[in-house]
Amino acid sequence: MSIIRFENVHFSYPDSDRDSLCGVDLEIEEGSFVAVLGHNGSGKSTLAKHMNAILLPTGGKVFVNGIDTADEQRLLDVRRCVGMVFQNPDNQIVANVVEEDVAFAPENLGVPPEEIRERVDSALRTVGMFEYRQHAPHLLSGGQKQRVAIAGVIAMQPRVLVLDEPTAMLDPQGRREVVATVTRLCRESGMTVVLITHHMEECVGADRLVVMSNGKIAADGTPGEVFSQVELMEREGLDVPETVRLCFDLNKAGFSLPLDILQAEPCADAVMRASDESPAFTAARCGRDRKDQ
């Protein structure tokens, strides 16, 4: 069953004459890890903000767990179901102590104190920040702050975790920490994860990859399926993984390699196999071997 459903959603910001979303149809399955890729201005953040009713569609409908997000009476139900992590970790941490920040959402929901304590401890353990529970957030690194922000959202026990470019302000180390944390959340706790990003390499581990362009969905499928459409990705100004790039370039030189390999090892194997079978490549190698002698 799909937990989030977009039905022909249109959206334009009040002071803009251009549609930021034009006719988006999208269903997100419960328990899946969906990455949304697109460059700046493609509408990917706008899409994310529709998932917990921060923005409401100007046309069409968005349903979260069967609830229409435009239904003001059930706004809290929507927000409780879909947690959102934002780009700048500093601007979403509300307290001066890590554990008090994580407790903010369950406190808002009126959860009994003992249960808040349990939720906070378990959320902090999940993101690996339990030892830092008494620390002041402004003394943590960017990746750590963003993990605290994630803990603050999962303490709410949402069914979906939407991350709106959570790694845009982080260094490579922090980026890896955050992506590893959300991947683990999806695989181990079965939480639905929607990761909005413009870093191609963060999408490789996802179950599904959606490419946004000019407010429309340009491609949708497994990362392998999407990345193998190399020309389309180039048109959108997006990178493809190096393995796909290598195979694509080799194919131009007369090979016929599959384009949906995203890991280095299987790619190396495929290239080796192809080179054994290819007469042109064998001839070239023999020639080089002779020269060496």
Partner: protein, 265 residues
């Protein structure tokens, strides 16, 4: 230089002073201030000073951090002392001089009073997290809700302001470095020129503060914040035996100071 400001900062710890109920601490600070202003003789001041030092020892707050917080106030303290030295009539130290023994005594007492006043309030903010502090304030001011005073809104605004002090200080540092790199000069010139040089810092700082506020509001709403209604707290405040003891100590201090004043000590 901006990093030195410790006003409103919390040092996490696990001492008796940290564990006291924030309401107790707020009332204690109130009693402390009353006692401080009741003190008139040297014995009274000595007693309040001793109480302050004892509190510092109990809460493991080093005198250094208190003095660091006092730094921005030095000017006011010095000015008060000077005014008291020159404008108090009495016995001159050297015949014909304007400086009197009474003036010196009053100046020292005023300096002591302001220093102790600041030290006492610092002890509160150093040992109480802003969240606890605002919780305590909210509960103490709860009766005012009946008079439609927006107590919850006021306290959450206060805690947000305290939360963003370090962030904004960091930001100011960054903007200053950026402007310096482009040749801005904050150190030379007369007062007016220096004040004008601050403008290129204040404008971007304000712009970014507004942007932050906007993002923070969205993030809070995303975490189901909908005002104080139906809100629970993780840390339940409860009065323990230590709070009763602390109250007793506070009242004892106030009583002792008043008695000493009565005896003109």
């Amino acid at each position: 230089m901006l990093k030195d400001i410790t006003l409103g900062q919390y040092f996490p710890g696990d001492t008796v002073a940290h564990r006291l109920d924030p309401r107790t601490k707020l009332i204690l600070v109130f009693l402390y201030i009353v006692a401080l202003f009741q003190a008139s003789g040297w014995a009274g001041y000595a007693l309040v000073l001793a109480a302050t030092v004892a509190c510092m020892a109990v809460s493991h707050i080093s005198p250094r951090s208190i003095f660091k917080g006092l730094k921005p106030m030095l000017f006011i303290i010095a000015l008060t002392a000077l005014l008291n030295i020159f404008y108090t009539t009495g016995r001159p130290i050297v015949p014909g001089w304007i400086i009197t023994w009474e003036g010196i005594e009053r100046a020292v007492k005023m300096m002591l009073r302001i220093t102790l006043l600041i030290a006492g309030t610092f002890l509160l903010t150093y040992t109480t997290s802003p969240m606890e502090l605002t919780d305590g304030l909210e509960l103490l001011m709860n009766p005012l809700k009946k008079l439609r005073v927006p107590v919850h809104e006021m306290t959450i605004m206060m805690s947000m302001a305290l939360r963003f002090i370090p962030t904004l200080i960091e930001e100011t540092d960054k903007i200053m470095s950026a402007q310096k790199a482009r040749g801005a000069d904050f150190e030379t010139g007369n007062l007016l020129q220096r004040a004008r040089a601050l403008l290129p810092i204040l404008v971007p700082l304000f712009v970014s503060a507004f942007r932050r506020a906007d993002e923070l509001a969205v993030a809070m709403e995303s975490r189901c914040y909908h005002g104080g209604e139906g809100r629970t707290r993780m840390k339940q405040l409860s009065m323990e035996r230590r709070d009763a003891i602390a109250f007793a100590c506070g009242l004892l201090l106030l009583a002792a100071v008043i008695v000493l004043k009565h005896w003109r000590l």
